[in-house]
């Protein structure tokens, strides 16, 4: 393996969530997952709600739940500007499952009301992303099908 590494920094408006040298980053981009290795071409993408994972030095995956935002790659630096982000180890599972249930009831109640439904759906996806990140599950099975451009 080459010596090249990516410097990955994940920041939310309120704090720096993750910062470290990694060999690979897989991010939930708006149009599907994108993986980044060193020497990647410069790129900027918007992010979806989902799980971002990084392969840290001991070849271990670390999971971070991210809630929208942007990702920029440039000169082996991956910068993630998330609206909100949580390290898997910091996620409060009980609180996330509660949030999930709340979101589910809200979805039930919001039938017919588009705006509410959209909000509730976002909350549900965020809760699920956090739960899965906490468990270290890689799949993004609950991703909604790609929607038409907004």
């Amino acid at each position: 393996m080459s010596e090249r590494k990516l410097l990955c920094e994940i920041v939310s408006p309120e704090e720096v969530v993750y910062s470290g040298e990694v060999s690979m980053v897989v991010a939930p981009a708006a149009d599907g997952e994108i993986g980044f290795l060193p020497l990647h071409t410069p790129l900027v993408t918007t992010l979806d709600i989902g799980i971002l994972r990084v392969k840290s030095s001991q070849n271990r995956w670390e999971y971070i739940a991210v809630h929208g935002g942007y990702l920029e790659v440039r000169e082996d630096r991956v910068t993630v500007l998330a609206d909100s982000a949580e390290l898997a180890s910091r996620i409060d599972v009980a609180q996330a499952s509660e949030a999930k249930e709340r979101a589910e009831t809200r979805i039930e109640e919001s039938r017919g009301k588009r705006e509410d439904f959209y909000e509730a759906e976002k909350a549900l996806r965020w809760a699920l992303a956090r739960l899965r990140a906490a468990r270290g599950v890689e799949t993004t099975a609950d991703r909604r099908p790609p929607t038409a451009a907004m």
């Binding site: 939310s12 309120e14 410069p42 790129l43 900027v44 942007y70 910068t79 500007l81």
Partner: protein, 289 residues
């Protein structure tokens, strides 16, 4: 007799006031530390965001995004003074409001319809009392602003701007320069100034890939930029409030100490005078016998 008792009572009163101001001073000092830490913690995001915004903007030279367009003619302006919810913080709020009112008069003189959207109880109360038009007020926010709160405010501002209800939005808040130096500043929030997007920089135009496209990324980044600015203003304003309160309470505590010194001196003098008089009376009484 009566006089010494009176002075003693006052000393007690001032002492209990001093206890309160001292406590408030310490609480404010602790809150400044937290507020400063939050400003520090938010800096990486703001800096990186600007960085990304800058590189994206290179690829969308004539974006025509509504937040970037300078309108002609400008008819309506909104000024957002950020004040605290609670008082006892020196001139912090007064300074902001004075600046906001000056800006109001300036814009009004330029022929614009101006109104306020206030953040914080103090500004809301004072401007309403002075009879200024207030479109909306946010008074339920805490003195430890969160990004969610900033986002909510920013969203309404952006909506108002894109709907064409406003052509120009100013923020007026206390800029937190240091623990002892806070200055009210005005900042043109919308439209976004061209400097932010930057001049075209040749050479930066590397082979960038944009997902889904440079326009989409830019269109989403611009509101985020506004949110970050509002958040920052809120945090600076909170940090300034705590600093100003600490200074004010420190001054109050010092004054209370001086006052207690003076009162103690008066008390001793009165006590001595009383003793002297008693002796004189005893001596006079003995003489009379």
């Amino acid at each position: 007799m009566a006089k010494t008792r009176e002075i003693k009572r006052r000393i007690k009163g001032v002492e209990s006031t001093k206890k309160i101001t001292k406590t408030m001073e310490m609480v404010a000092a602790a809150k400044i530390k937290k507020a400063q830490a939050r400003i520090e913690a938010a800096r990486p995001y703001a800096l990186k965001m600007m960085d990304v915004l800058f590189s994206v903007a290179q690829f969308v030279p004539e974006s025509g995004h509504p937040l970037l367009v300078v309108r002609e003619p400008v008819e309506r302006a909104v000024i957002i003074p950020m004040t605290s919810n609670r008082g006892l913080c020196g001139a912090a709020n007064t300074n902001v409001l004075r600046k906001a009112e000056a800006l109001y008069r300036k814009e009004e003189a330029a022929g614009l319809t101006v109104s306020f959207i206030t953040v914080g109880n103090k500004g809301t109360g004072q401007l309403r009392y002075a009879g200024y038009p207030i479109e909306r007020s946010y008074t339920e926010l805490s003195d430890q602003p969160t990004f969610a709160e900033a986002r909510e405010i920013a969203k309404e501002l952006i909506d108002g701007y894109t709907d064409g209800r406003v052509d120009k939005i100013y923020l007026v808040f206390n800029h937190f320069r240091s623990l002892i130096d806070q200055k009210p500043v005005e900042h043109l929030l919308l439209p976004i100034q061209q400097e932010v997007i930057g001049e075209e920089r040749p050479g930066v135009r590397a082979d960038y890939i944009f997902e889904p496209s440079a326009e989409v990324v830019l269109n989403r980044l611009l509101p985020t930029y506004i949110e970050t600015l509002v958040y920052r203003a809120m945090m600076e304003s909170a940090a300034s409030e705590h600093s100003a309160r600490r200074m004010a309470m420190k001054a109050a505590t010092d004054n209370a100490t001086d006052m207690i010194d003076n009162l103690t001196r008066s008390y001793n003098r009165a006590r001595q005078a009383q003793i002297t008089q008693e002796i004189a009376e005893v001596v006079a009484g003995a003489d009379a016998l």
